[in-house]
């Protein structure tokens, strides 16, 4: 018995050693079909969202050649890209809350003679247009261009004057259009060196320089949800989506009072809007917002939408 077992063990040992020895000799010659090794960089979540937009095969410029030598001071960011047409009226108590004390009856002031010279609408409009043109020109190009523009304008003015004589206008419709005309300051800004100097470089093709990561967006969304007490007394929550624009400071506090962007004919909309506003104000400052990505959350538009909650 013992004899046979020992024989078997010996055979097994020899066979194993033989196989191992054979493998040792043959293995290195077997070709492993593999791609060249890839280096993998571990990057953080923050770094991912910092990845610049670019093209994969973009030239890797070591030192991008400046197209413009002198880089001008970047213009300060536009504080309020859409100037408010009118200020939000203050919510006034609906009825006579007596104080503050009524102002003393003012002695009737002598009214200045109001008869102002009648304004020539068309000439006014033209002047405005001219001013606008000029301002743009000033920003973009040299004095020469301005000269030209002026000349053009003058020529045009002459033309118009001529035309006015020749032709009768439907003044009513012109006035209407003038009323609708955009009179705000031009918003186009001349390109600065910093903008022009952008060159294609390596980067993910759909990445953005500063964008909040999904987690960061979710943090803001969650915080706002925590702060928002839905007006439960309100029936028909259907059209009660309240859209609010929030302007933040870099420290997460509110740069301005949040603004309601939408409207509704529903009489309880005001209640819904106020509840959302209360929530936004109540939880300020939003200190958890990443200052490094301030550009991405400086201005946020939130839809407070209770419709899901009221589905019963």
């Amino acid at each position: 018995m013992g004899e046979r077992m020992r024989a078997g063990l010996t055979v097994s040992a020899i066979a194993h050693v033989a196989v191992l020895a054979w493998l040792l000799v043959t293995l290195p010659s077997i070709r492993v079909n593999s791609n060249p090794a890839l280096t993998v960089d571990m990057i953080s979540d923050a770094e991912l969202s910092q990845v610049m937009a670019g093209v994969q095969n973009g030239p890797k410029a070591d030192a991008p050649k400046p197209i413009v030598d002198k880089v001008g001071d970047p213009s300060p960011p536009v504080k309020d890209p859409v100037p408010k047409v009118s200020d939000k009226p203050e919510i006034a108590p609906s009825a006579a809350a007596p104080p503050p004390p009524p102002p003393e009856a003012k002695p009737a002031e002598a009214k200045p003679d109001k008869a102002e010279p009648k304004v020539d609408e068309i000439a006014e409009a033209l002047k405005r247009e001219e001013a606008k043109k000029r301002e743009e020109a000033k920003k973009v190009a040299e004095a020469k261009k301005r000269e030209e523009a002026k000349k053009r304008e003058e020529a045009r003015k002459r033309e118009e004057a001529k035309k006015r004589e020749q032709e009768k206008f439907d003044t009513a419709s012109i006035e209407n259009r003038l009323a609708l005309m955009d009179r705000r300051a031009p918003q186009r800004h001349a390109s600065l060196g910093a903008v022009i100097n952008e060159t294609a470089s390596l980067g993910a093709d759909r990445a953005n320089a500063v964008a909040l990561s999904a987690n960061e967006q979710d943090a803001l969304r969650r915080r706002l949800a925590e702060c928002w007490d839905v007006p439960v007394g309100v029936r028909n929550a259907r059209d009660l989506v309240v859209t609010i624009q929030i302007d933040f400071k870099k420290d997460g506090s509110l740069a301005a009072d949040p603004v309601i962007l939408n409207k509704s004919a529903n009489p309880v909309f005001q209640v819904a809007a106020e509840s959302a506003l209360r929530g936004v104000r109540r939880c300020a400052p939003y200190k958890f917002m990443p200052p490094a990505k301030y550009e991405a959350w400086q201005e946020v538009v939130i839809d407070f939408d209770p419709r899901e909650m009221f589905r019963d």
Partner: protein, 450 residues
């Protein structure tokens, strides 16, 4: 020719510019979204919880008015708290002591205790002895006044002033009309179960100022308020058959509605208060009739061999819901106000009774009996979206608050005790017991008094 052509072309191009400018202005003014692509997020969840509100004691001019100030503050705190939509903050937590009605509150102090709304009030007596109360509602986080009113009344109306202020605050903050300045009539029950004395009783909706309207000699049932006048209709077993009566609350005058052979019961006013709808029982079946209170003209609305009863008008007066066992079991039916073909709307298990149309028209409340349980529920007027609000051994007789958001009903636990009144809001979340002098049943909520 050339001369004419050039100006024409120019005019066109200038008009083009003007149109383009106009169009741009219209676009930017209607689309108020920022020019820069701002981050846009959707918040689809929020808290469903009562709004924390601070109601410091009203300020008074003289120490003699402190009691009055306490009363009005307590009434408001109680009203808003019971509604389930507000959570009055314990005054012990207040940081700022409001001493001046006209001063702007120190909002950080109120934010610190998380008050979202702050009610500041003042109450006092005028030279003519009348009381004068005023309040201001502040948005604590917005730092702005939201509402403010002042009232004058005789001193015995101090509680009503409190209810009216509560209604004002409720409406301003919820967008719905309030219901606090209203009353309830009900059947006050005293004595042992087998020999109960039942008296028609009226009180404020919060249980204060209860007073008896009948002396308890006759058995009274199912009182209902007129939506338009200070009148109540109810059913009473005096001598002989039960009859429907009309009672003027102010004068105490009462009269029988109609003079029919047989029993009349389950009366209810039409929305304009001009007629009473009821059922009239004869020879084992009962049908629904309406009587015009002015002309006394009677119109028959149903004609069946079944028991049709508990009629209730839609608030616009166009339709009537009622219960009927014409299908074998008590169910709820809806028919046009002038009669016509009734449509069954309740199809759940069990039997349905005492339907009441909500004053805001959106739902019909009912009592549902199933497996020894009596539940109070609501369903849409087309029978859809049935929801049970409360269920138990015995719940019955729902009546709507004037704003249709709260129901009152009575619950009888059985045994040696007696029934009591409860309120529940139509979400079913907020149930409250209503204080009454003794046992109470068959409540009917009045319309708003003011």
């Amino acid at each position: 020719m050339q001369q004419g052509g050039i100006p024409g072309g120019k005019a066109f191009s200038r008009r083009g510019i003007l149109i383009a400018g106009g169009a741009a202005a219209v676009l930017t003014s209607t689309r108020l979204t920022p020019a820069r692509a701002a981050l846009r997020l959707s918040v689809t969840e929020g808290n469903v919880k009562p709004m924390p509100i601070a109601i410091p004691e009203f300020i008074t001019g003289s120490p003699g008015d402190v009691e009055m100030a306490r009363t009005v503050t307590a009434v408001i705190t109680n009203d808003l708290g019971h509604s389930g939509l507000f959570a009055p903050i314990d005054p012990a937590a207040y940081i700022e002591r409001i001493a001046n009605f006209d001063a702007i509150p120190r909002f950080p102090d109120w934010r610190a205790i998380n008050a979202q709304a702050l009610v500041v009030g003042r109450v006092g007596r005028q030279g003519d002895g009348r009381l004068r109360a005023e309040f201001r509602l502040w948005d604590v986080f917005g730092g702005q006044p939201q509402d403010g009113k002042q009232y004058q009344a005789t001193p015995d109306n101090i509680r009503r002033i409190g209810h009216i202020i509560s209604d004002q605050i409720y409406e301003r903050l919820t967008g719905e009309k309030g219901y606090f300045d209203s009353r309830v009539v009900f059947i006050d029950e005293t004595g042992p179960r087998e020999r109960r004395v039942k008296r028609l009783t009226m009180m404020d909706q919060d249980g204060a100022n209860a007073r008896y309207l009948t002396r308890g000699e006759d058995l009274v049932l199912t009182p209902r308020f007129s939506p338009a006048s200070q009148e109540i209709t109810y059913m009473s077993y005096g001598q002989g058959d039960p009859r429907v009566y009309l009672l003027n609350i102010e004068s105490g005058q009462r009269e029988v509605v109609g003079n029919f052979p047989g029993m009349t019961f389950a009366p209810r006013f039409s929305p304009d208060g001009g007629s009473v709808i009821m059922s009239l029982q004869r020879a084992g079946n009962s049908n629904i009739f309406v009587m015009n209170l002015g002309s006394k003209a009677i119109t028959r609305l149903t004609d069946s061999a079944a028991i049709d009863t508990s009629p209730s008008y839609a608030p616009d007066g166009s339709r009537i819901c009622f219960e009927s066992d014409r299908g074998g079991r008590q169910q709820i039916y809806v028919m046009p106000a002038n009669g016509g073909n009734p449509q069954r709307i309740s199809f759940g298990e069990g039997s349905y009774s005492t339907p009441v149309w909500s004053p805001r028209g959106d739902v019909i409340a009912f009592t549902k009996q199933l497996g020894g349980q009596f539940a109070i529920g609501v369903m849409n007027p087309d029978g859809k979206e049935e929801r049970i609000l409360t269920s138990g051994y015995h719940n019955e007789g729902p009546t709507f608050a004037p704003n249709g958001r709260v129901l009152m009903f009575f619950r009888d636990p059985g045994g040696n005790t007696g029934p009591a009144l409860y309120t529940i809001d139509i979400t079913g979340r907020n149930e409250q017991k209503v204080p009454t002098p003794s046992y109470a049943s068959d409540p009917a909520w009045s319309p708003l008094l003011s």
